[in-house]
Symmetry: C2
Subunit: 319 residues, 2 copies
């Protein structure tokens, strides 16, 4: 866990979320237990952290808020697990693969198991509106997943397509974590909207930074090769910005037309040197600023500053 100074007043509550995960990890799943241990919890717990913090602007039953926080992380983890199959499928297109540690059957079953737990925890919030929010998010994410697959190796996409895609894939779940917490803690409607707005923009900034790090990050810290998105046929913001700058031919399009390791290297290099990374960072900063702006609708308590700090923190992360 690297959450130490990040989550202010809810640092201790996070251990209750971890306890939920411990319980799930204790299930006897044979060969699946190993993978479960690897994927569940132990990370930065960004989504549960936000949920717990957002609840503090109202009054809540901690058990229910913890259920929401755990549910959101479980849903996130379930989609990560299934992505393992979906991404690996790209080997069939003759490109190198990123993840290949587990059998397809393991990943499908484990993902379904985690979806089931996510649904159970959502129900435990006792709020039909939270469950509804949750199921709507599940739909948005499933559609986003399909949209990303349909768009693979398609260089006719636009930045607008990209933003819609990461909105569905990433930001929607952050928004749900925050909005759901507002709901459970019985906050006035305008605060709930502000929390949703914060979560959504936070998620957008988070994903843009992720996509930048795919070009600029350290392979070891990231645990995946530089340029892995391109390898899987996925265009992200830095690539789009490069393509905009050189509409009459660029190494990204060249790589998509006929992939090779040399062309991949050339594309990564060009993206890094073209200023596309810097412009992407500016956009991430914009989203982060919008998230912080949304906080002005909330009471001025210490947790508000913690949320603002988090929105700044994610801009500087290196992995």
């Amino acid at each position: 866990m690297k959450t130490a100074p990040l989550y202010g007043a809810v640092q201790d509550d996070l251990s209750r979320v971890e306890a939920v995960f411990d319980e799930i990890r204790a299930a006897n799943l044979g060969a699946l237990s190993q993978m479960l241990g690897m994927v569940l919890g132990g990370g930065k717990l960004m989504r549960p952290g936000l949920a717990l913090l957002c609840g503090r602007f109202g009054t809540y039953d901690l058990d229910r808020l913890v259920s929401l926080a755990a549910s959101v992380e479980l849903l996130h983890t379930a989609t990560l697990v299934h992505d393992d199959v979906i991404d690996r499928a790209d080997t069939r297109r003759g490109r190198p693969t990123v993840n290949s540690a587990f059998e397809n059957s393991t990943t499908v079953m484990l993902g379904d198991f985690l979806f089931a737990h996510a649904a159970n925890r959502a129900v435990e919030t006792g709020s039909l509106r939270v469950v509804e929010l949750f199921s709507r998010t599940l739909m948005i994410m499933a559609r986003g997943e399909i949209r990303q697959d349909l768009a693979a190796y398609d260089s006719r996409q636009t930045i607008r397509d990209y933003l819609a895609r990461i909105g569905g894939k990433t930001a929607s779940l952050f928004a749900t974590a925050c909005e759901g917490a507002g709901e459970i803690s019985k906050q006035p409607e305008e605060q709930v909207s502000a929390l949703r707005e914060y979560g959504y923009n936070f998620g957008m900034a988070f994903q843009v930074v992720d996509d930048i790090l795919d070009f600029t990050g350290d392979e070891e810290e990231m645990g995946k090769p530089v340029g892995s998105d391109l390898m899987q046929g996925t265009l992200t913001l830095p690539s789009f910005l490069l393509m905009e700058r050189s509409p009459n031919g660029n190494p990204v399009e060249a790589y998509f037309k006929a992939p090779s390791p040399e062309k991949l290297q050339a594309a990564v290099k060009m993206v890094r040197e073209s200023g596309a990374v810097e412009e992407s960072s500016r956009m991430a900063k914009d989203f982060s600023a919008r998230a912080i702006d949304a906080l002005s609708a909330l009471p001025d308590i210490a947790d508000r500053e913690t949320l603002a700090e988090l929105a700044r923190y994610i801009l500087d992360r290196q992995s």
Copy 2:
């Protein structure tokens, strides 16, 4: 659709369930649309049919009952789709494979998409208790799926393990279809229990017949080879009964130890000729009788006889 005379008074309501599926099928999913068209609806709609019938012992809002009926079928279809990946994984064990028409990535994404729709429809029932029932069933099914995988090619299992497994994999969802309908139609607690009891035993009978047909059915009508369960390492009731009769060696265990097409044929032949099929049929009949018994707690209206007929009908089906 082969539902014509089966569903009595709710025959027309079923078309509303089909309309829900039409709407889902209309989504633009690119390459996934073909598979979606193949898997969703168009079958006997057993689970929605039961849900609609069970609602008639109380008073209900038809929209909500249709949402439940659609939800249950969507959940069933989602698990079918994911089974496609899970079953196919068995090729890694060097055995022949049953399903291989679609890419793993397609099946994972489509299954998740269907889970999302199932969750949405469950929420549309407006009943947190139904959603809870639904999410508990999802968990039971996910565990059942994992349990089946852990037990593959393990001949130390017992009939008891088998019954627990099909209870989780099949009967629990039938039970939820019936109990959920009782819930939505505001029936007294003892009727809701009776409906659950009916659904559970109905599902057990249904699955046992399914497992018998895997040995005795017509390959063309079934759309899969005879003995496909054994091929995937799955022991079902007829095999267990044969193994009980010949504890000191039998062709099923021999096939599991060193699979070959010849040994598979020998195992299927022995199961068919040993009386294990007849005994399995008796057990299916028992479950069906228990389902019919449970109906005595319900008002004596025509729908009760329709439910009883259905419980008899499934014993005679040929595919």
